[in-house]
Structure formats: C-alpha cells, structure tokens
Symmetry: C2
Subunit: 320 residues, 2 copies
C-alpha cells in the first residue's frame, strides 16, 4: 500500500491544522493509502487526542527537531536531520513511504527533496508545477519559482514534466503545451525564449507555440511553460487577484460566484508539485488549513500511485 | 500652445474611432491643446464630415501611406515615411507638435519614436509604462514589453522613469519604488535582479526593496520595476483577468462593481507611455475606441505639458 509522509510541524497553523487534515484524509480515503506523521511524538499524540482520533490508518515517526521559517535550507538539512520536514523525505528515500508533503519552510523542503531524493533530467532543480484557474479549463503552470536564469533546454524539460502530469493526472490526451512569451511570433522574447521555442518544436510533446499573459486566463492550452521568476510572479499575482476580489466583493453567492470561488480558492488545491524528482514531493501553502492538507495528501497519493515521477524520468532520459 | 499629433489610421477601428476620439478631445479640452490628425487627407476629411464636425481645434497633415499590423518596424520606417504613424512622430521632431499618439502597429510606433526622436539614458529602448489597478491605489508598472534581456542598470533607469512619472503626473511625493521579485530578501531572484537590487539602493529614488506578484494587487508601492518580458506577461494577464471577470459576472451594478469596472476597464486609461525618449510618445490599445483615444490625447498633452521627458532626461544624466 502506498504511504504518504506528512511533516506535522510545517506551516503557520501546525501542528493543529496539519494533524486535523491528516485525520480528514484518513477518514475520507478509507484506507486507500497510509499516512505517516513526522514530528515530535508527544506533540502529535496530544494533537491527535485533542481531536479524539484513535489513530487508525496513521503512524507516527518521532522527529523532535523543528525547522523554522527562518532556517536557511542548507542549515536545516545539515543540522536538523531529525525534523519532521527532513524525515518526511528521508522515509521516502528509505522506501518506507512513496510521497512526502510539507507546508513548512519551502526552501528547506525543496532542498531536502533535491538532496535526499535526487533529480532526473537536466533541470538544476525540480520544477514547481501548480494548477491555476483559467476560463473553462485548468492550466498547469511551471516553473513557479524553484529555478532562476534557466537555459533553454531546462524550459523544454519543464514542458515535458507538465505534459506528462496533465496526461497522467488530469486525463488530458496529448496536452497542449504553450511557451509563455510576449508575442505569438517565434522571434519574440528573450534569447533563451527564442531558443527554447525552437527546441520545443522538436520535443516529444504537443507544443502549440507561444502564448501570452492573456492566454493564462482565456487561452486554449493545458500546460504553460515559463522560467521560475516569471512563473512565481504570475502565481502570486493570481493569489493577489483573488484576495483583491474577496476584499472588493466578498463571497459572491450565485451559481457563477460559487464556481468562481471554487476555482480560485487555493484551499481547494493540494499545493505545489515538485516535478523532476526521483520521487514525489509536495509543498503546500504555509497558510494551509486542514482542507488544504487533506487535498495535498490526496494529491501526493495520486501522484505516487500514477507513477508520474517514473514516467517523467523515462521521458526525460530520451531527450538532451 | 501644445499640440498633439494623432495617427488617424492606426488601430482596429481606424479611422472612425480615432477621428471620433479626436473630436471628443477637441470638444472637451476647449482649446487647451491642439490636435493634428495625420493620414490621408481625403479619408480624414470625409470621416470628420461623417461626424458633422467643422474641424475646430484640429488640423490635418496629409500622409497617404498606410502602416499595417503585418509590417515589420524597420520596413515601416524605411518605406512608409509618409504614413500617419511615422509622420505623427516626425512632426514632433520638427517641432510642430509636442507629443505623438498611435493605436496602430506598436512595434513600428516604438521604432519611429526611438529612431526619429531618440532616447535618453542607457535603456536600449524607452520603457513602456502602464498604470494598472491595485487595491486602493494606482500602480505604475514598467517595462511592459519594450525591452528584453535587460542589464541591471537598465532596471535602475526604469525605476527613475517611473518615479518621475508618478511624482510629476500623479502628484505622489517621493513615490515608493519596488523591484518585482520572487521573494523579499535581497538575495532572491535572477543574477540581474540581485545586482539591480543593490544598484537601486544607491539610486536617487525612494527604493523600498523587493515586492512580489501579490503586491501588484495588494501592496503599498507606487511604482513597480521589472523586465519587459515579465512586465508584458503581467499586463496581459491583468487584461485577461478583467475579460475573464466580464465573461463570468458581466458588469456588476453595485457601488463596488462600478468602482471595479472603472479601475479595470482599460478604456478609462490613455495607454502605454514610452518613457526615456527625447519627446513624448504614446501607444494606445489596438482595440481603442473613441473614449480611449480621447484619454490618450489628454494623457499625451499632460505628459508634454508637465515636461516629464525633460525631467527624466535631467535625472538620468546624473546616474550611470
């Protein structure tokens, strides 16, 4: 049975929201997958008890160290090996679990996944892939901030990762992959984008050409490739737009409004997937509540169960 | 008296919407500035007549060539010197007008402004600056797509241009300038962003540090600096949001809704300003209607009247 390790101490509302989310997931998944909570055993037991949960479908792995939001990734990795964050990845490396989830220090979680699990392909770091709302469809955007100053072949690897994710997990046959640019013509954009455009045309994916910012919202592609800097700006701008909207209109209680909130509320999504790892890693929102954690655990299980990382590794080994 | 030259043949709805916008501006401005329509004289006269306008406050400069959306900027500049687009800039160089506006081929308009008027500072091209909606304030974003692969000093020049614009035109004293990045810390982002951060700290502006995508919507800065690629993506994403919103909710007829539409409808804004020119150039939306054109003419007049380009030139001459 697939097991998912969850860092019980990561996130603004840890351990309460994290443990509550794990209980939700254990109840709803009805034994489809196992959950291992990593962190200080006493704290986790007390928190489980506070919810009156008997611990069914859940294990605890004692890891007393605490990674804070201020810890640098390297410090966390070196000096806090017995933390919930590092051990949730270490258990995967040891074959005890098949996926790892943390809502804690995202730089440290990225470093743990990269250094402990290792990467596939030639991306300097695994890409952060996020599903974002678009009119009438889902768009998978990557990289949302793991890499900077990417070379063109790295952007091609992003495209392959996104394509395999969309095909495997979202059931989209031959997903349309677009390169985020500042014009439709091949010769638009930075030198790297122009080179990437040519390489993407040769890649074993359904590359449909350049797309623009408007196409994130209203386009016809399934996967959008960009560098980590621009992807991070886009993702956070979209979060900001939703907050702006809530401040302006509150929750709109109409059929369109409910659909809008369903699509835009980040807590309906599991979090940011690290694609290009030898394994399955998920970084969820620091502000994650129990619902986010439950969705993250489900997503991590489905990623591992669908062997997305193995499929990505196989495809990336075919290209430069 | 300040005069503004307007390319009568540029834009999807030219010449009708362009001429109609010029008439609106001439009527509302009541002689505060003059307008010269550039394009084929017969066409312009007929269009003016179709609106029953007697031509008060307006001149026509005959320019029979037509720049299409498909023309490359260099071809347009070389072979279509007698077009409305090129002559509206040429008249400024000759001292006949103080500002130039086109809703036509934006690459050609950029090239005409750059080659005919010339640039100040060390930006490879003038920055495209746009005012964008933000919660409870205005944000001036630049560069929105004129430049690519900027070096760090160019980003500093963007910051200076934006700061002077916000101070002079929006009346903001000591405008807060932020660098769009993927984290608040100085060491975040691409190499160029990290270098620009250090240079911006030394620049003669009120640099408040890095801002993130969310801060475009909900931040506390007046000017946001980024490279042309990311700025273009942000601008078009925001246009896409608004279209998405209209498709989802239509026009929301409440006090908040009317404010939202007022802020987000691009036709309430004049267009994209080219900052860093020896002169005043404005590129308006290709889909511009008469209201957009009127706003663009007013904005061009105010830019020229406030001597924004002269103030930018003076400040840029003080820095590397």
């Amino acid at each position: 049975m697939i097991k998912v390790a969850l860092d019980a101490m990561g996130g603004d509302h840890a351990p309460k929201a994290i443990v509550e989310g794990a209980i939700l997931a254990a109840k709803e998944s009805q034994g489809k997958y196992g959950i291992i909570l990593t962190g200080p055993e006493g704290v986790i037991k007390d928190t489980l008890a506070s919810f009156g949960y008997n611990g069914e479908g859940m294990e605890i792995f004692h890891a007393p160290d605490i990674v804070t939001m201020e810890d640098s990734p390297t410090v966390a990795l070196k000096t806090k090996q017995n933390s919930g964050l590092v051990t949730c990845v270490g258990l995967q490396k040891a074959g005890k679990v098949q996926a790892s989830v943390s809502a804690g220090n995202s730089g440290a979680m990225m470093a743990a996944c990269l250094m402990v699990l290792g990467r596939v392909g030639n991306m300097p770091r695994p890409a952060i892939a996020c599903d974002v709302p678009s009119f009438g469809r889902n768009v998978t955007l990557l990289d949302c901030g793991a890499n900077v100053d990417e070379k063109a072949p790295t952007l091609v690897h992003f495209g392959i990762c996104g394509s395999i994710y969309a095909e495997t997990m979202l059931g989209i046959s031959n997903p349309k992959v677009g390169l985020l640019n500042m014009g439709e013509e091949e010769k638009k954009g930075t030198e790297v984008l122009q080179e990437a455009h040519q390489l993407l045309k040769q890649a074993p994916i359904n590359f449909v050409g350049n797309v623009e910012g408007r196409d994130i919202m209203l386009g016809e592609v399934d996967v959008i490739v960009t560098g980590g800097y621009t992807g991070n700006v886009v993702l956070k701008l979209m979060e900001g737009f939703y907050e702006y909207h809530l401040k302006t209109f509150g929750k709109i209680d109409s059929p369109q409004g409910r659909k809008f909130h369903e699509d835009w509320d980040y807590s309906n999504r599991g979090g940011a997937m690290l694609l290009g790892l030898k394994g399955t890693g998920l970084i969820t929102h620091g502000r994650a509540n129990a619902k986010v954690i439950k969705n993250a655990l489900d997503l991590a299980y489905r990623l591992a169960n669908s062997q997305v990382s193995e499929k990505i590794a196989a495809k990336l080994s075919q290209v430069a």
